[in-house]
Point group: D2
Chain length 321, copies 4
């Protein structure tokens, strides 16, 4: 099967580096004499036929931009088979015989369905949360972590000036990767992740132990969804006497110019996705494993489990006093 025209879309939450992935898909496809259609607003745009021809200059000057140039949206309609068939009809009408889907697990389910319907789809993991089991790395993760520590390094200045405890909620959508790594990077006295849960006594004891060792200000890093950081701050203040303040970093973590890692990995993954589609191979998700770019069957990928790096968590705990 010879693929002549492919589409590319971004789906789910946006992540820095998605533009670098789009650019790589477009450029690699053109290099292989394929045509490329940009699909706006994710699967919603695919069903509607909101498509735009992508030329070599369409993706100029976007590698350094956060967000996604093609827009993104959730699409409940695509969870139904009828929605998938509508999308398939659009693909057939415009001659799109392959699709790259940049997004998270939910987006890959859609890609699997559309592949089954006859349009080969390849997924690229794009989410700041790094919560996709088949891959060591998801596009946007490195930028989100670095944005996080830039903000926490600012909180550090004010916490230090006032001898305070700063309780910070970071993103992660039920995954503690951002909290763990940003927590280590900021020298957080305690890190709360969903994979372990909040052990209030352990946290308070750690803070008290650090205080006893002369520590004057404290950073507590909390993954979202664990508990209210203002309540945690109140509890710390009450139990330790250390003035405490909470901050929810929020959506700021989703934006910003992508880091080198996000731009390079996105470029590699986009290139790899086109290599697959060129051969007519669909129902795959691109991944990074042990530093190499590989790919998996989507169903297989979705059934994998990701281990939480307990050794790293323990190191964090040992060196943060």
């Amino acid at each position: 099967m010879s693929v002549k025209k492919i589409g590319v879309l971004t789906s789910g939450g946006d992540a820095p580096g998605m533009n670098a992935a789009i650019r790589s898909v477009v450029r690699a496809a053109l290099k292989n004499d394929m045509q490329v259609l940009g699909v706006r607003d994710g699967y919603t745009g695919l069903i509607k036929g909101d498509l735009v021809d992508m030329g070599i200059r369409s993706v100029s000057d976007i590698i350094q931009r956060g967000g996604t140039y093609l827009y993104t949206a959730r699409c409940p309609e695509f969870r139904e088979w009828e929605g998938v068939l509508k999308a398939k009809a659009v693909c057939e009408k415009v001659g799109m015989d392959g699709l790259v889907v940049i997004g998270g697990d939910g987006s890959f389910r859609g890609a699997a369905d559309l592949s089954k319907a006859g349009i080969p789809c390849v997924g690229i993991p794009g989410t700041i949360d790094n919560d996709i089991a088949c891959t060591d790395y998801t596009i946007g993760y490195d930028t989100a972590m670095n944005t996080t520590i830039e903000m926490v390094d600012k909180l550090r200045d004010t916490a230090q000036s006032h001898d305070r405890c700063s309780v910070v909620e970071v993103m992660g959508r039920r995954a503690g990767y951002i909290a763990l790594n940003a927590g280590i990077a900021c020298g957080a006295t305690y890190i709360v992740v969903p994979e372990i849960g909040l052990d209030m006594d352990a946290m308070l004891n750690k803070i008290k132990a650090a205080k006893a060792l002369g520590k004057r200000y404290f950073i507590i890093m909390v993954a979202e969804g664990i508990g209210h950081v203002d309540e945690i701050a109140e509890r710390i203040e009450k139990e330790t006497g250390i003035e405490s303040r909470s901050t929810v970093l929020g959506h700021v973590q989703r934006g910003g110019s992508p880091t080198v890692t996000d731009r390079v990995v996105a470029s590699q993954m986009g290139f790899h996705a086109v290599e697959l589609l060129k051969q007519g191979i669909g129902n795959r998700v691109v991944a990074q494993k042990a530093g190499k770019i590989v790919d998996f069957d989507i169903q297989e990928a979705l059934s994998m489990k990701k281990d939480f790096p307990m050794d790293l968590y323990n190191i964090a705990n040992d060196i943060s006093f």
Copy 2:
């Protein structure tokens, strides 16, 4: 009167550039053959006698750091005359015959009291809020605004990718300067400041007008203390159909390495404060007016009113569609 030994303290909320001011005070005083004592934790430390000798190397490598190297704290005790007298006694004991106080209005009241008690004090305006009437500029303001727009520029990426409205609460402590200037700088569709108040209908109409002109994503900048940004976001979503998200930027705005303006103005103000104390002049606050460094009687300064720049607010409104 010949001043031989002065103190320097930071008081109230910390602000980027306070370290540059401390450095300038210390270096200028040493240059004038005065000795300098650093007072830790603001007036609290003064009453306690928590003092440290400052040499020329004590302030090396701090000009670029946020926060305050001398720590800061609120001191309710200093609002009583008895506290002031305790501080005076400490000054006399260590031979401190002058004091530089870096902080806000509340800190200046203390400086006026201590001046009245016989220790000449000079205030330097240090607060991110720019809410001190006698001066066009307060140390920390420029850094806080730039931190704000860096964060909002990241929110912009995600708002744009999702066609959302991003409602952002910024600091200001009853003053709209940060919201106004950062709002213009981010192209905010609407800016809510305490000097004018929240006109919900005007805001909604502005958003609808911009949407009618083809605008796809929106930033609303709200000064703290006006209303809950999550409620404002809900209202916008309900009335306009635009998906809306709220973010409270919070204490991140207080930290970070100071900008050129904050470092330079802090250096000038610190230098000027020493020039005053050198001549035994106290009960003054240093200010920047129309680009020049001047000084005012503290009581006079505290009684001034600051006009809100309505012309700038109107420009913002006219060009943000």
Copy 3:
């Protein structure tokens, strides 16, 4: 005279904030029911008729971007009266009865000529060098200075780790404003500006004095055009025994997302330029004096002299040991 259609162009070296000025001109003009043409590549594009209709969405999402969206170029042809008449003919052909020129002194000379030829032109000072006499501030200056200190703060890390002297050349085009302010902001031991010249002995003595006071690493800030920084570094190493390294920061200082000040002042100046053209007033240059936005006759502006702030230079010298 009623102005119905204006043009806007950027000329000379690019500067961060030019896009904010373009945006403000376009939005303010549309608000006043004028039409706006964007002129590409400065006067070169005007002569060629390289014009583009500007709508309210044309300037969306550019306020935060460095460089100039309309491109810029030097135009030797415009220095001849014949070139000016060609431009005038283009203006008349398309009904452009007013022009905003964002650039430096050279660009304003062109604006004066075209005004004389019958097309009212208003200049906006846009250059990172702050070397325009009539105004306290030029668009791009604040961003360039902050970019400079961000880079020098990184050089500081490595100079400090190795006990080195870092000799840094910064931009300025025959003006020492960037060197002076960035020099103060970085705690430079010595600042070399064209307004004063390089006094090698004074510099070496200052470094030796600082070293005698225990200073271990040194930053020397040199404005471009004074001398080769590698030769200065060699001389310092030879005379003081301090290992020295030179860096030319170069064009990096011209780019980057503009600061709050650059975005806000650019917005004010663009608005003011349209206010003038609306009334048919040309041959003016917009300026900021003592915090207010004003305007001057172009010839008058070009004949002004700018005083170098010797008091600030002296403060720098006194506190940097």
Copy 4:
């Protein structure tokens, strides 16, 4: 053998993240009831006995700082066996029975020698150049690359505004890793690395091809030591007619607050080094391979060869038009 007291030093060029490694070594050793001595100025300080006791608070507030808190220096004396024996004598005198050396290949040779002399030493790869064969990652590399792209993204603004070609020299010390990855990340039209060399015709043809495809501005990324970027820029301007400018980024790339990756990997490696020394194991170098922290015999490590990632280079070439 039971190790009771270890030393830690940084050697060779400084790199962001060295402080995070020092902090981790100190904290992990204290956690294991060892004492820690900080050695200043690398091997030079070891020979001189310039040692400082490190407590848990000695390494507070340094994880986020660039450079090295313990200073670094080259030490020709340590290349002689006599120097090694002097260092050994100092170690024995103070009871230092283990040493962590953070640096590059040259520093590891010293660590091997001192291990042979009887003081177990463990090396940690710290250099921005990523030019150590045994490890996928060296501390400082990620920060240096991100600093590079931040600067090149600024150059992009001005290159774009003027339709120019920007020829940028980046660091790497005979290795092209920074140039390659930063080049991909910046969308460089052509990347020149020492592993391949400069093929002037290939470069010019690539630029001409991109120009023919409508590209208006160009970035050429050149690793140091390949050729003079000003000459390359002149040649490009002459052969293609595109106005070209050169920039040498220089030592700015060595400094700055470390990224998440540098802080986390440094923390892991420091922890691992202490685990080895705790067991009396020396003559090892810590490394990251396929995402895992491992260690190698120093001689074995020094004899390894690092393959240049040609596949990544080819991707870069394919997608940058």
